[in-house]
């Protein structure tokens, strides 16, 4: 009797529409197999520390000291904590309003937001206002807050890249808005063509949708491409002409694996373009402690920075933030440490640099190993991972395989990924979870497994792929000779 209040039929329809493949069918199946004792390699989510990446030492020392401030009074604390960690802990504790256990300002600790603003200024060469920077429990929460402000109903559309990180599609569904896809061009290194954008917007408007915002993920997820300055200018011009707010998901800005296209922030390009555009185009930029070489996913630390958002609207966004009282304080300290790093001369500096470089250089090597490994398979084409944490190979699946998938009631790439999982324990996310062109299939894997495990993982994949293709493609073995 008590069940009739909330059952599947009487639930909010928008919730039912939400899809989030990153922790969907493949992941659930992988977890089941893991419980049965099978060894699983989880490459479904950008979760570096789950695959052996060690946390950076210095931030952990600082936060541990903030967590237990009575340590700071102990004469022996210097035996296990270096002097600069102790000093930094005292610094952050002084910025709080009662230590880690007190709600902070709903926008985040003012002193930390100031450090974020200073970081942005150093990075871009333009001043940033701490009052327009809000810390959040992870960047995802910030994205959800902003989209909640923008989406009034089904008539509101948000331009989202295809393929995209499904936080965007899930959130748009949850808030009852419309996703307006714009396709990235795989053959042009996942490039963005402004003509595609115009076409997508025109089609949406024809259907009566008001296109309100545009999402860019730079570096891209799952695609990894780094946008050029020219591309960013085109996008900003487009937003100016079409009156769109630009949502710049820049959480992978530290993860760059080539030198031709370093990271440039959307804000820098906007400011470089000067008035009237620089004073007009609305922009919200997102960052996190979860990615980069920090990989502190479990802390749930992020921020968004608003540009050209009017003061009263900022107040409304503040009001919504205040309902959740405050973002978690330990993660705010991680954020402060990330944007305000150690300097040469600091006791822990060398160790910090060694650890950071080690991680980044290894990621660069792994990006290469994986791309090459995928490309060595005849039916797989893989763009190089220029940035972020993923590899997104295209799988050319033969008609018999597609038919078999249909028989099994599964989308072809889901079918392939499930078989890959059962055969090798490698847990990926099928490309359909990110969106792709009709009839084109991918899978997403992370480049995060330990470097020493990579060769075995790639050969395990290749073995499975060859067997799969032998099963479903006529002349597979003959054509490979």
């Amino acid at each position: 009797m008590g069940l009739k209040a909330l059952d599947y039929e009487t639930m909010n329809e928008n919730v039912k529409k939400v899809q989030y493949a990153v922790r969907g069918e493949l992941y659930l199946r992988a977890s089941e197999l893991q419980k049965e004792g099978k060894k699983i390699i989880f490459t479904n989510v950008g979760n570096p520390q789950a695959l052996g990446q060690k946390p950076l030492t210095f931030p952990r020392q600082v936060v541990a000291l903030c967590q237990a401030p009575f340590l700071l009074d102990d004469p022996n604390v210097g035996l296990i904590f270096p002097a600069d960690a102790i000093a930094r802990a005292k610094h952050y504790l002084s910025l709080t309003s009662g230590g880690l256990g007190a709600y902070s300002d709903s926008r985040g600790i003012p002193g930390v937001r100031k450090e974020v603003a200073e970081f942005i200024e150093r990075r871009d060469g333009y001043p940033s206002d701490p009052e327009l920077i809000f810390l959040t429990d992870g960047a995802s929460k910030g994205v959800m807050q902003i989209l909640n402000c923008i989406i009034r109903g089904q008539g509101d559309g948000v331009l989202v890249p295809v393929p995209q990180y499904p936080l965007y599609s899930a959130t748009i569904s949850l808030f009852g808005g419309s996703l307006v896809p714009y396709y990235l061009e795989e053959t042009a290194n996942w490039g963005l063509d402004v003509n595609n954008l115009r076409e997508s917007v025109a089609q949406a408007r024809f259907k009566g949708i008001t296109v309100r915002a545009m999402v860019i993920i730079n570096p891209g997820n799952p695609t990894g491409q780094c946008l050029s300055e020219a591309n960013l200018r085109e996008i900003l011009n487009f937003c100016y002409q079409e009156n769109l707010v630009l949502l710049g998901d820049e959480v992978y800005q530290q993860n760059i694996y080539q030198d031709e296209r370093p990271f440039i922030s959307s804000r820098k390009v906007l400011m470089d373009m000067g008035p009237p555009i620089s004073k007009d185009v609305q922009l919200v930029s997102f960052h996190t402690v979860s990615k980069g070489y920090w990989g502190e996913c479990g802390q749930r630390g992020g921020y968004f920075e608003m540009t050209n958002i009017p003061p009263k609207t900022v107040d409304e966004i503040y009001k919504i933030a205040s309902i959740s009282l405050s973002p978690n304080v330990p993660a705010q300290i991680f954020m402060g440490l990330m944007v305000n790093p150690l300097k040469p001369g600091d006791v822990s500096y060398d160790q910090f640099v060694r650890e950071s470089k080690g991680i980044l250089e290894s990621l660069r090597r792994r990006a290469r190993i994986m791309t090459d490994g995928f490309n060595s398979c005849k039916n797989v084409v893989c763009n190089f991972t220029e940035g972020a944490m993923y590899s997104f190979p295209q799988l050319r699946l033969p008609p018999k395989a597609i038919e078999a998938a249909k028989q099994a009631g599964k989308v072809p790439d889901v079918f392939y990924c499930l078989k890959l999982l059962e055969a090798t324990g490698i847990s990926t996310v099928p490309g359909s979870g990110f969106g792709q062109k009709e009839g084109v299939f991918h899978l997403r894997t992370t480049i995060l497994p330990a470097e020493e495990d990579m060769p075995e993982i790639m050969s395990s994949f290749k073995k499975f792929n060859d067997e799969f293709m032998a099963q479903y493609e006529d002349n597979w073995n003959r054509s490979r000779m």
Binding site: V15, L71, R300
Partner: protein, 504 residues
């Protein structure tokens, strides 16, 4: 650093005017909104192209539900207080007081309450597990905190406290919490029913999201209520169905009142989906009697309502004649199980004697729903990946603190009892002091962290408030702030408008 200072009355008028404009302009062309006063809310005066169209993110083009929702706890009075605080910092003589006393929010550690040492020891070790291998660590940390840290780390794959966990929270920690619930209630709890969240508030939002399909869906909420509920319902586009607690009977909750409100709202075409009960109450502090709770459970079962039990103050009970009983325990003791009653129980690390607000730790225990509903709850939780790990660990510690015989037990219980007895004393002291004031009556605070005195404002005061375009209790609070630096929240912020109150 640009400061933003909001004229409070101007803001109220401005936002209702902007809302009117939005409603007008939605009838015009599909993708250009013509704002009749572009300068009112534009980022800079020199922009030219925006003068004929409103930006996507501006007051008259954003989601109107955002504009509608209110949260008095950190609302107008707090913004005013922050402004005054800045003024004192630059000019110490600007006001007749030296500091601002923030009594608007249950934030104990910002007012000097110390955290529980054992909990912080374990959290510090989990934050920096590298030191567990060092011999010097033994000298700095208690032996049982080291042992507990090892135990917890072993429950985390790869001991990786920086990795996203299972979207419901780390399994081993949920096992601990389930065991804690069972020890508390005497009835079993299933770790798969537990969803660890960044504080209890996100869990409340999740349930509102699931339950509310449109403004025709109503949620029964106590008046006065903690304004998270009204804000969340507004944000999700539902209807708040108020039920009035009775001040004359110590803020009692009568099932007859619930029935009456349910009938009234149904007659207006509202589908009432759930009943929110805050026990111990916020802002009222009342602790429900077990008989009362049984009647509430029976009511929900009969009417097919989900019972949303906000129990975050379960460890804050100050009167010997009352005791906290969870709604889970009460339901099970009535013989009602999974098939009989849909119950969601919320707990947090922010209150109690631990007061760890800034950690954002909490959980909801979800019972009495079908598997397909639970799948959907899991799905929504997974979009945010997981709650912060440190908060998850703390939630497990709160539900399984040191036991008799543990090395840290003595110091832990001394700290806990010290905090709780001090809270009880302060509740009594303040209640007595309020009751002695002219025009003020104050119910006893049986639990939680607040007092909710009633003030009988004279006619002239009410007229002065009207002239200032404020609710009378808001006017009183503003005058109080200006004279003393003390920040209270007006009772109207909690929905109480039949008489005037202050909450602090």
């Amino acid at each position: 650093m640009r400061r933003f200072v909001i004229g409070s009355a101007r803001n109220l008028i401005e936002s209702s005017r902007q809302k009117y404009q939005f409603e007008r302009s939605i009838l015009s062309s599909p993708y250009r909104f013509l704002s009749s006063s572009p300068a009112a809310d534009s980022p800079s005066s020199s922009s030219s192209s925006s003068s004929t169209m409103a930006h996507p993110v501006s007051l008259n083009t954003i989601n109107p539900k955002v504009i509608e929702c209110e949260y008095a706890v950190r609302g107008e009075i707090v913004t005013l207080a922050q402004k005054l605080q800045e003024e004192i910092q630059t000019k110490p003589d600007a006001h007749p007081f030296e500091e601002i006393l923030y009594c608007n929010i249950g934030n104990p550690q910002s007012l000097g309450q110390q955290p529980i040492t054992f909990f912080r020891e374990v959290l510090a070790l989990c934050d920096h597990p590298a030191i567990l291998d060092k011999s010097e660590t033994q000298g700095l940390f208690s032996a049982d905190s080291i042992e507990r840290a090892w135990q917890i780390l072993d429950q985390i794959p790869g001991r990786a406290t920086g990795a996203y966990s299972h979207s419901q929270g780390i399994k081993g920690l949920r096992d601990t919490i389930a065991a804690g619930i069972e020890a508390r209630d005497g009835f079993p709890a299933d770790p798969n029913d537990i969803f660890l969240t960044d504080g209890a508030s996100p869990a409340v939002h999740m349930m509102m999201q699931l339950l509310i399909r449109s403004e025709k869906d109503g949620i029964l909420c106590p008046i006065p209520q903690y304004p998270l509920y009204s804000a969340s319902i507004a944000l999700h586009g539902g209807t708040l169905v108020p039920y009035y607690l009775d001040e004359a009977t110590g803020w009692g909750l009568e099932v007859s009142e619930l029935k009456k409100q349910l009938e009234t709202s149904r007659s207006k075409g509202i589908t009432v989906r759930a009943l929110v009960v805050i026990n111990p109450g916020n802002p009222t502090g009342q602790v429900l009697a077990e008989e009362n709770q049984k009647a509430i459970v029976e009511f929900c079962k009969q009417e097919g309502l989900v019972l949303l039990a906000d129990e975050v103050y379960q460890e804050n009970v100050y009167v010997p004649e009352k005791k906290f009983h969870s709604f889970k325990k009460v339901s099970r003791s009535m013989g009602y199980g999974e098939k009989d009653i849909a119950l969601v129980s919320f707990q947090s690390v922010s209150k109690g004697y631990y007061g760890e607000c800034g950690k954002r730790g909490g959980y909801m225990e979800v019972t009495g729903f079908g598997a397909d509903v639970r799948e959907q709850i899991y799905k929504v939780a997974s979009v945010n990946l997981c709650s912060n790990i440190s908060g998850q660990i703390l939630a497990s510690l709160v539900m399984s603190p040191p036991k008799v015989g543990d090395e840290s037990y003595e110091s832990y219980s001394a700290e806990r009892d010290g905090i709780l007895s001090s809270l009880a004393r302060r509740a009594k002291t303040l209640e007595d002091a309020f009751s002695k004031l002219e025009g003020v009556t104050c119910n006893k605070a049986e639990g939680a962290m607040y007092l909710f005195p009633r003030i009988d404002l004279p006619e002239k005061a009410i007229k002065a408030a009207e002239a200032a375009k404020k609710a009378p209790d808001a006017y009183y609070c503003q005058r109080l702030l200006a004279a003393t630096g003390i920040v209270f929240v007006p009772g109207s912020g909690f929905g109480q408008v039949s008489s005037w109150h202050l909450a602090f």
